[in-house]
Each structure stands twice: as structure tokens, then as C-alpha cells.
């Protein structure tokens, strides 16, 4: 019997199910009958990528087009990479098993900064030239999208173009442009990218020159053609009820991070926490109606057989029809033994009625995110949550037999003092004593309060985008202050994030296109899987920056001037710089901003339109 190389390799790696495709629900087409082949790559493992809602949506939306075939690809694990390199085998797509380099498009979703090295590595494993400038007419068009493309500059040398904002319509449009130009004979890589840059929401970085000042800050972005926009406005789906939503899911054989139905309830957020990038970049708020959601949930249940539905949004409590939706869902989910989960609950909505409805029931704990330890600092970051609210919510959970509470915080927020840090410990102590004071709490079980603390990273498109990130030494000192305050407490566990990872994330979050050089150098050193603790190598990264003559502190730890040109000024995501400046001023004054539903704060995102939002309509 003949055994091909792929068979032998698959038999030698761990979890071959990551690479084989063939899952129930995958979409197969005749490659000779389609006009455009799109490989959708997720630059992390299969288990993480398969759980991503955006990929599920875009896979469906592209494959709905008869003449487009979208396939999937994920970062191979290191044992698989070794096999591919040993045998000089190019990375393939799941559905057809064809090499990625044979596709028309290779799309990457950029979900977090720490996956950038995996992007470069995957290009390399696909045997596609790493840099856009080195690609020929035969190579695929490499396109990026996703949350990180609100500042795509650090990776721009590797991409031919970016899709900015929501991709449902945009990706089909760019494929249509490609097909049309191929058919009418006007296609060349150069001509295509020029045409693409004229469409709304497409950014072709090579068509913009960047100049720098003597101090290293950016002087200006200049388009090299007159007929392309000076700034790229993001795309949004205006009416989410009308927008495509998958009716089936590719069902992974192997266990993934989220094996459940993800029901996207609305986009955007009315809150405006000042550290939160998603809360700004997903604006304006656009809701779906409960009728549509209930129908989508039923369809997905019948197509998947998943026994859990997760209501997905940035802050589920703020959905105006939450009560109607959960009531309607429970009419059939209970009998079908399907549980509902509501992540991202706010404390003020944590009521006994809601507690009755959700199945968190099986889990023994609840999670809240106060983010800061004192009211003063919570006002600075506009996290409208009081200690009273938190304790009330915890008591509801205790009444229902819960005994574990997880609290998320951030270290290193602007204006933070050691008293604010010790406030985190005090808040945890209050939760513990609330448990013992609650007559309904479980008698024979001690409470566990987990305090999980990450390091603040100033992100583009937030009111804190100009703030310096604290140095690693200072972040470590802050962690020690908290450790000392918490270590004496009973029933409180303290978890913290490594400041080194946060520092690197801080560099790339606000980086400019000069950082592409560092990513290339990092790739040459074999750096990858930076979001995996077992691979993250801070010292190697510092050596990379040194080798490239890049000062990481310039990006992460510098106080940016409100007047300087920011790397992400090339993008327009809706909210204006004036709004962000106003919010920053209010932060320093300790003044909170009401939610969008209470009062419009004039962020500017309403110019993009949107149905079932709470924004004032723009009349033109």
C-alpha cells in the first residue's frame, strides 16, 4: 500500500484533528467551477480559531456566493510546523487540502496583537513572500481584517490591503472587484490594489507615504494617488436584523474553546469605559430584535445540536429587550435541555429574576469586572459601578448557593495611586464578609474570591490613547503592593498577568509601520505564539528591538502629545479625536459620562448610521 507524505505526517503529530478538515458542515465546492478562492486564516490554533464568531460569519457570507469558495486555515502547532519544514510541504487549506499559495486571497483575522508573529510565520509556511512588495502576480492577495486593524500599521508591510470595520458586505465586494477585473482583463496586482483603495473601508498601506519628524513622531500620511481617500472610514452593517447570520456551523470533531452556539445580540456598547477599545471601535450601538434572535437561535440549535447558547455582546445587560429575549428562548430551550449563558453581565442587572433564568446554574461561580479598586478611580475610567452594586449582586449569587466570585481588575490605570491598588484588596475583603453575613449563603462551604489583575495597556481609539504605559518595573511594584495587601487575606486568591506580555502588547497596540521590521526580525529568530506563555520570550523580543534600532518605550511608555499625528489617524472608526480629548479631560477631573442611552455624548459615530441604535440621526 502506498502512503502519502501527508498521511505519515498526520499520524506523527499530536491532535491530527486540527489539520484534516472534513467536519460536518464544512463547505465543499468544485474548484474549477468557482471564480475566486479565498483562504481564511486564523493565526492561532484550530481550537481557538474554530470558536471565533467572526470567522463563522464571514465563512458563511463568502460561501453564500456561488462563484466564491472560502476555506479555512489555522496556525499549525509546533510539531506540525517542524514536519512541514522538514518535508518542505506548503501549508494547506482545510477543505480542499490545496496549498494556500494557490488561492486568490489569503485573509487573516487579526484578533490580538500577540498573534502578529504567527501571521508572518503562517505566510512563511504557506511559502508566500512575506512582504507585500515582494509578491508577484502569481501570489495570493493578502488581506487583513478584525479588531487590530483599527491600527493596522505595525503589520502593514506584510499585507496588500486591509478591510476596515465589519466585513460582511466588504469581503464579498472585494472578491467581486477581483473577479470583474480578472474577467475584463484589467487585472494586475497593482491595478487591483489601486481600485480597491477607492472602495469604502479598504486600506492599501503601500499607497500611502509616511514621513517622520526629527523626534521620531509622524509628520504626515500622504496618499500617492489623488483619487484615493485621505482617511479610510470603517464599514458597518447598518441593520443587523437584515445582516447575514450563519444558519449552520462547521462542527469541529475535536474539542475547541467554545463548543456552543454564539448568538450575537447587538454590536457596540452604550457605556464608554475610557480604557476600552472595543467600546469605542464597535460604535454605533445596533441591536437585533428578539424575534430575529429567537429564530436564529432555533435554526442554529437544529443545525448544530449544541446544548448551550451564549448571548454574545459587549455588555449583555444593556440589551433593551433582554427580558423578552430570555423569556422567549426559555420557552423551548428548557425542554430541549439547552442552557443559556450570559457572559458580560453588569452587576446592576444581576437580579434574582435573571438568576432564575440563566444556567450559570451548573457553574458554581460568577464573574464581575469592577476594573478598579476605588470609587475615585472607577470614576476616572468611567466604570459606572459602585461597591454597593457589587455587593448586592454578589448577595444575589450567594442567595442562590454560589460561593465563588471572580473579580477582574486592572493595574496601572492613569492616575492610579497605591491606595487605589489596596482598594482592590479591600473590595475583595468586603465580598468575603458579605458572604459570611448572608444568612442564605451555603453553610458548609467557604467562599472563594479570585482577584484577577491585568496590566493597563493604552489602546488606540480610547480617551487614554495618549497615556504612557507604566514601565515594567513600576507595574511589577504595583503588583507587589497588591500582593502584600492580599496575601494576608483568607479566602482571597490573587492572579496577575505578566507585565512583560503587557509591555509588548503596549508596543504593538500603538505602533506604527516601522514595527514591521521588528516583526520580520522576530520571525527570523523563530519567535511565534507570543500569546502562549510557554513560547513567549521577552528577552528575545528586546534583542529584536535592539537589533532593529527600535526603542520599545517610544511606543509603550511615552506620553503622546494631543497634537501629534497618530499612526491610526489614517483610519476613521467613527468616534472623533475631539470626543476622545473631551473624555480624557473628564477622566482627569474624575467626572463620569452617562451612557449613550441616558444622554448622547457626541462621539461622532452616529454619522455612520445604524438601525435600532440610540444615537441621534444625522440629517444630511
Amino acid at each position: 500500500m502506498n502512503f502519502d507524505l501527508k498521511e505519515k505526517i498526520l499520524r506523527s503529530v499530536t491532535k491530527p484533528g486540527r489539520y484534516i478538515g472534513g467536519e460536518f458542515g464544512e463547505i465543499l465546492k468544485d474548484k474549477n467551477a468557482v471564480k475566486c478562492r479565498f483562504a481564511f486564516a486564523f493565526p492561532d490554533t484550530y481550537e481557538i480559531g474554530m470558536s471565533n464568531l467572526g470567522v463563522r460569519i464571514l465563512y458563511g457570507v463568502l460561501n453564500r456566493e456561488e462563484d466564491i469558495w472560502c476555506e479555512r486555515c489555522y496556525s499549525p502547532w509546533v510539531d506540525m510546523e517542524e514536519q512541514l519544514r522538514t518535508h518542505n510541504l506548503p501549508m494547506w487549506a482545510h477543505e480542499s487540502g490545496d496549498p494556500l499559495k494557490d488561492f486568490d486571497f489569503l485573509g487573516f483575522t487579526l484578533q490580538y496583537e500577540m498573534c502578529y508573529t504567527n501571521v508572518v510565520n503562517l505566510l512563511d509556511l504557506a511559502q508566500i513572500p512575506l512582504l507585500s512588495k515582494d509578491r508577484s502576480e502569481e501570489d495570493p492577495i493578502v488581506i487583513g481584517g478584525g479588531p487590530c486593524t483599527y491600527n493596522p500599521e505595525p503589520v502593514c508591510d506584510f499585507f496588500d490591503l486591509f478591510s476596515i470595520g465589519e466585513g460582511e458586505d466588504a469581503l464579498v465586494e472585494i472578491c467581486r472587484l477581483y473577479i470583474n477585473m480578472k474577467e475584463n482583463g484589467t487585472y494586475s496586482r497593482k491595478a487591483f490594489l489601486h481600485e480597491a483603495a477607492k472602495l469604502q473601508g479598504f486600506y492599501v498601506p503601500s499607497l500611502y507615504d509616511v514621513t517622520y519628524k526629527a523626534d521620531g513622531t509622524i509628520e504626515a500620511y500622504t496618499p500617492i494617488y489623488d483619487d484615493i481617500p485621505k482617511r479610510i472610514t470603517k464599514r458597518i452593517m447598518k441593520d443587523l436584523d437584515q445582516s447575514y447570520y450563519p444558519e449552520k456551523v462547521v462542527m469541529p470533531y475535536i474539542e475547541t474553546v467554545h463548543d456552543r452556539i454564539m448568538l450575537e445580540v447587538y454590536r457596540g456598547c452604550i457605556r464608554g469605559c475610557r480604557f476600552c477599545q472595543a467600546g469605542m471601535t464597535y460604535r454605533p450601538v445596533r441591536e437585533k430584535t428578539p424575534e430575529v434572535l429567537n429564530k436564529q437561535a432555533k435554526t442554529l440549535y437544529e443545525a448544530t445540536g449544541y446544548d448551550e447558547i451564549s448571548l454574545s455582546s459587549l455588555s449583555i445587560s444593556d440589551y433593551t429587550c433582554l427580558d423578552t429575549l430570555t423569556t422567549e428562548l426559555l420557552e423551548w430551550t428548557d425542554e430541549a435541555k439547552v442552557s443559556l449563558s450570559l457572559p458580560s453581565l453588569r452587576v446592576n442587572s444581576f437580579t434574582p429574576e435573571l438568576m432564575e433564568k440563566i444556567s450559570g446554574v451548573r457553574a458554581s461561580g460568577i464573574t464581575f469586572a469592577p476594573e478598579a479598586g476605588t470609587q475615585r478611580l472607577r470614576d476616572v475610567i468611567n466604570k459606572n459601578l459602585t461597591e454597593e452594586d457589587l455587593l448586592r449582586a454578589c448577595n444575589v449569587a450567594f442567595d442562590y448557593g454560589k460561593s465563588t466570585v471572580k473579580l477582574y481588575f486592572m493595574n496601572g490605570l492613569p492616575t492610579e495611586t497605591d491606595d487605589d491598588i489596596r482598594g482592590i484588596a479591600e473590595l475583595a475583603r468586603s465580598v468575603v464578609s458579605a458572604y459570611y453575613k448572608n444568612p442564605n449563603a451555603m453553610k458548609n462551604r467557604a467562599p472563594t474570591v479570585t482577584v484577577s489583575v491585568s496590566c493597563f495597556i493604552p489602546k488606540p481609539w480610547t480617551p487614554f490613547q495618549w497615556e504612557p504605559q507604566y514601565t515594567m518595573e513600576e507595574l511589577r511594584r504595583k503588583q507587589t503592593v497588591l500582593f502584600e495587601a492580599v496575601s494576608k487575606m483568607k479566602h482571597v486568591t490573587y492572579k496577575w498577568h505578566d507585565a512583560k506580555t503587557s509591555h509588548l502588547e503596549g508596543v504593538f497596540a500603538r505602533g506604527d509601520r516601522r514595527l514591521s521590521k521588528a516583526l520580520l526580525a522576530a520571525h527570523r529568530r523563530g519567535i511565534k505564539f507570543d500569546s502562549w506563555d510557554e513560547f513567549f520570550d521577552y528577552d528575545a523580543w528586546m534583542a529584536v528591538f535592539e537589533e532593529c534600532g527600535i526603542d520599545p518605550a517610544f511606543y509603550a511608555n511615552r506620553a503622546y502629545s494631543e497634537d501629534e499625528v497618530l499612526a491610526w489617524d489614517i483610519i476613521d472608526c467613527g468616534v472623533t479625536k475631539e470626543f476622545l480629548k473631551r473624555e480624557r479631560k473628564k477622566a482627569y477631573a474624575g467626572v463620569t459620562t452617562p451612557s449613550c442611552r441616558e444622554q448622547c455624548s457626541g462621539c461622532g459615530a452616529n454619522k455612520l448610521g445604524g438601525e435600532r441604535s440610540c444615537c441621534p440621526k444625522v440629517t444630511s
Binding site: 491530527p16 484533528g17 462542527m251 470533531y253 445540536g305
Partner: protein
Amino acid sequence: MLPKGNLLREPRAIRIKFAKTGKLRFISHLDLCRTLNSAFLRSGIPIWYSQGFNPRPKMVFALTVSVGAESVAEYLDIRITHEMSESEIAKRLQAAVTPDLAILEVYRPATKLQDVEYSEYAIYTEHPLDPDAVAAALKQPMMVMVHGKKGDKEKDITPQIISATVSGDRIDARLAAGQGNFLNPENFIKGLLAALDDPDCFYHICRTACYTADGTLFR
């Protein structure tokens, strides 16, 4: 998605014979269980749930094959709570899984899954093996490292080899596959290749049939 048939007085036992081939050979038994779990839920088959705090569709498998191996003789027992014909169950289940998981037969069992005593395997090797050398090797004790509850230990597996015939690059082997007396075909082929001084020869295993103690085909 509610069951349409009448409620049965007692849950009815149903046996499903299926094949696990193609890409599915790379899927572990645990993952196969999860795959079938969701397949039953989306199929609308009125499967009986285990009782207790966390009810689950109840599935009992006969023996399983290791990752990498194929099988055209896998057996799974379920129970149904509502009336549904065997052919309808077969149709619905097949529609809820990929062709690599072929539903071969659905019936009401007259035997217990534990009645399986032997399995037959077709094992394909990268190159043809010498039948005389194989016959000679099988006459000697075959010492193999075997995973056990008390850790790995070396064991002579020849008593568990019922028969083995070679024809070109195919070996047909009948091996013990009973409760407490099970020979993993991987161990058999590894032991054989080691005895032939050909340990790196690549191979592929497919279970072709299961038999009861008296040598009749299991059903």
C-alpha cells in the same frame, strides 16, 4: 425539535453498526463521542438521556479503535424514548454526520455488546511481507510492551493471536477482543514488525468484523 412518535412505555434498545473511515480515523474515541452526542441532538432522534444531575444522551460503545485506525465494524447502543423506525433513525443519523461515519445498520439487538470475543483486522503494510517469515515469527513468543492498569509491562501476546495470514501487503488477523482479554492491533503489528526486523515499516489498520465466542459473526 420535539419527538413526533408516541411515547414508548419503556425506552427501547437500539444498536447502530457504523464505519469510522477516511478523515475520521484521526479522531479519538472521546471526540467521536462528542461528535455523536451533538449529531443525535440535531438529528431529532428521541434518544434516552442518562438520569442525574447532568443528563446526557446515553451511548454505550463496543470496543474502540485507536487514533489512526479505521473500522467498518463499530457498534453503539442507545435507547429511544419515543416510537421511531430503525430505518428512520438510520436516515436521520446519517444526515447528521459526515460520509466518513457511515451508518451501516440499525436494529434492535438480541445480544450484549460484551458478547464480542474476537475482532478481525485488515492491516496494510507499506511493502509486502514475506509469508514464510511471518509464519515463522508467529511460532515464537512475541514480547510486546503493553499498557496496563499497573503501568507498562512486557507480555507475550501470542496466546491472543487467533490467526494471521499474509497476502502481499495485506495481513488478515483475528485477535482477542473480549472483556479483559483484548489485544490492541497496534501491539500486534508492532510486535510482528519488530520480529521481522522491519520496525519502521508504515502500516494501516482497519477492523473488518467482530465475532462472538463460538466464532459466529457478532450482531
